[in-house]
């Protein structure tokens, strides 16, 4: 139960992002970078240790969310920032109230983790009115001068596993029967889907024989049922593209049950300790995954927020670069859990992102 939860969170948290009231006055997102004016001189407010950030998160129970806040807390600690953390226990109404409460305490900035603009709108408006910058993670607010948005790199994650698929099929004009697992309406999945549609259009030799998918509390098992049926009807399937770890686990299960491991490979996403066990398991068809590390995500969010407070952030949107990890790499590194994975794959940690020179000089 590690990073896979993050995806489900993203799923849950992003079901309606495309249709939020805010979309009406959308501004163009500009990639966020540290401005050139940032030096190694610590901004006065930070030197005086006089910075307070409120964190209002929709989701808090589970390793993923614990890792996320741990990343934020350790970076805040390093930079001498005081944090107020509001935990909404997955309740949107509670998060909405907490956001308004956080605004009323007038912090230097607010970090919002997950949630929906539908529910958060009154608080976001209040923050804007009070000139408090808001940094959102996987909320789906439109980036603007007031709102900096951060998300996991869904598109690069999808591109990464599809590149591996192309490579496995020999490159060039690839062909073969494929199954795709997808449920529309979840923004993270929708973002991944745009990459998939481009990919399938560019590779006309690929024959999409079935699109399956279900998201509920029993996603893996039900995906397995659907995949088994689709594979039985289409015996020549060479690949199942399953861009969510519950999908990938279900697909792997179905391939194993039908004994098709030598013919059909699974291209999955996300990773948890349980997923690692599936991927490195004997004769596992799950050959590649793409993921981000939530501790790193938390640290990037905090640095981005600090830069915004210091007036040294240009742009307003940031996608955290994921790592693509193959089954072979996992086996070679003899990784058994997410902690070992973090040590073995340095690409999961991005300390240079949103790092102003002064952030190393704070004492």
């Amino acid at each position: 139960m590690k990073i896979n939860r993050s995806f489900f969170a993203t799923l849950v948290a992003s079901a309606v992002l495309l249709a939020t009231p805010h979309a009406a006055f959308a501004q163009e997102g500009v990639p966020a970078t540290i401005s050139a004016s940032a030096t190694d001189e610590v901004p006065a407010k930070f030197a005086e240790k006089n910075v307070r950030i409120a964190v209002v998160r929709q989701l808090n129970t589970g390793d993923v969310y614990q890792n996320w806040i741990a990343g934020i807390e350790s970076e805040a600690d390093r930079l001498g920032i005081k944090l107020d953390v509001y935990n909404a226990d997955g309740e949107n109404a509670k998060q909405a109230l907490f956001l308004q409460q956080a605004v009323a305490t007038k912090p230097d900035a607010i970090i919002v983790g997950w949630g929906f603009v539908d529910s958060l709108a009154p608080g976001l408006e209040a923050a804007k009115a009070a000139n408090i910058p808001v940094i959102t993670f996987d909320v789906g607010a439109q980036p603007s001068d007031d709102f900096v948005t951060i998300d996991q790199g869904d598109k690069p994650m999808m591109a990464g596993i599809l590149e591996k698929l192309k490579e496995d099929l020999g490159g060039g004009d690839i062909k073969g029967d494929v199954i795709y697992v997808y449920v529309p309406g979840y923004q993270a999945l929708d973002r991944r889907d745009t990459v998939w549609r481009e990919f399938i259009a560019e590779n006309p030799g690929l024959n999409l024989v079935a699109q399956i998918g279900v998201v509920n509390s029993n996603t893996a098992a039900q995906t397995a049922d659907q995949a088994r049926a689709a594979m039985t009807a289409n015996p020549d399937v060479v690949a199942i593209v399953a861009p969510y770890d519950e999908f990938a686990k279900g697909a792997s299960l179905a391939v194993g049950e039908l004994g098709r491991q030598s013919k059909t490979k699974v291209y999955g996403m996300d990773i948890s300790t349980a997923d690692i066990a599936v991927m490195v398991g004997e004769n596992s068809p799950w050959v590649v995954t793409a993921t981000t590390d939530m501790v790193n995500v938390g640290a990037v969010i905090l640095r981005t927020t600090a830069a915004k407070i210091a007036g040294q952030l240009e742009g307003n949107t940031l996608s955290i670069t994921p790592a693509v990890i193959t089954q072979a790499e996992l086996r070679d590194a003899k990784v058994q859990n997410v902690e070992e994975l973090r040590k073995a794959f340095s690409a999961l940690t991005t300390p240079e992102v949103s790092r102003a020179p002064w952030m190393d000089a704070v004492e």
């Binding site: 309606v16 907490f98 539908d118 529910s119 009154p122």
Partner: protein, 343 residues
């Protein structure tokens, strides 16, 4: 208003514990702790004691108080409604669906929501009164039936403005009345606090000032004796569960107005909070039974505690423990320090 609660004849006749201190703790302990807590938090954090924060605390307790008052009514007849959370979830989906999917107006959505709550209450009542299934088991079944029906009706999906409906998108939006319930104020008081206040006054009056209230308590105290003196016990038990369903519906409407979307199973978490509020309420003013004022204090107590603990960055996983501690202490006060003859 508080004196009415403990001055029923049965209460006055009860011999209190000999120890005056025990007696004081029994009656006022929880209120003293609440007052102390407010003072300490106010001194320790400059924002805690502000009017704005008081309003946040009341807002945080409003929904729990309303559904808790529903639980209180079912408890007065010796029942227990485990279906209140599922009923809230149902009402959330009915109201959100009515507006977003079917494009109904706000008042219609409210009426449909209240009707759904009454229907859930009726299901409870039928199972208990006519099928003669014990309250706990019957409402447990009703809980599963109600939440299962909700999930089936929406395919397990949340309802939100602009959601995908297969080939098209939903065009309905949340009505102005819901926007007001979610973020409206009257003289600086949040709309949900006003609604909760009105519900409290109504339930307080019902239980303490009317014949119905006396009959409810009589049935809860001894249903056989109540029947023996000619009280139509079944009818009043049906009424109690209908009221519990209705108040769950009001709570569900407040909830959907605050989140502006219909989240699957969102009300479920309120069952235990509401029951806790009602049980903490046993210990308020030594009532030693379900009562409206106590439930209100129970809801505000928990909200104050969570608000303060959050302000001091108490980890969320420790907050549950502190709530458990509060409930434990309240129950100790009711059952252990209370007059022995009451049991």
């Amino acid at each position: 208003m508080s004196t009415d609660i403990q001055s029923s004849p049965a209460e006055r006749a009860t011999p209190y514990s000999k120890d005056a201190i025990t007696h004081f703790i029994y009656r006022y302990g929880l209120l003293v702790v609440l007052a102390l807590m407010i003072v300490v938090f106010s001194i320790a954090h400059p924002f805690f004691g502000t009017f704005a924060n008081a309003m946040f605390i009341l807002q945080a307790s409003a929904i729990v108080a309303v559904v808790g008052l529903g639980c209180t009514i079912s408890m007065t007849v010796g029942g227990f409604d485990l279906a209140v959370g599922a009923t809230m979830s149902l009402v959330v989906m009915v109201a959100a669906g009515a507006m977003v999917i079917y494009g109904f107006s706000g008042p219609v959505a409210i009426l449909l929501g209240l009707a759904a709550g009454l229907l859930a209450g009726l299901l409870n009542a039928m199972l208990i009164v006519y099928a003669r299934i014990p309250d706990l088991v019957a409402t447990l079944a009703a809980q599963f039936l109600v939440s299962g029906t909700t999930l089936l009706a929406v395919n397990g999906q949340s309802i939100s403005e602009g959601m995908s409906l297969g080939t098209t998108s939903a065009t309905g939006t949340f009505a102005p009345i819901f926007k007001w319930l979610g973020s409206g104020y009257v003289f600086g008081v949040h709309s949900s606090v006003i609604v909760a206040g009105l519900v409290f006054l109504a339930v307080f009056a019902l239980l303490n000032l009317t014949k119905w209230g006396r009959i409810f308590y009589a049935i809860g105290g001894n249903p056989v004796a109540a029947a023996a003196v000619g009280i139509p016990v079944r009818r009043y038990r049906i009424i109690a569960y209908l009221l519990s369903g209705l108040l769950s519906a009001v709570a569900g409407l407040l909830l959907v107005a605050r989140s502006n979307r219909g989240d699957v199973s969102v009300g479920d978490a309120y069952l235990l909070q509401a029951v806790s509020a009602a049980l903490v309420g046993y210990a308020v003013l030594g009532a030693n039974r379900a009562n409206a004022f106590g439930t209100l204090i129970g809801a505000v107590f928990v909200a104050t505690l969570i608000n303060g603990l959050t302000m001091f960055n108490f980890p969320y996983y420790a907050q549950t423990f502190v709530q458990g501690l509060l409930l434990g202490v309240a129950l100790l006060m009711s059952y252990t320090l209370g007059p022995k003859s009451k049991r």
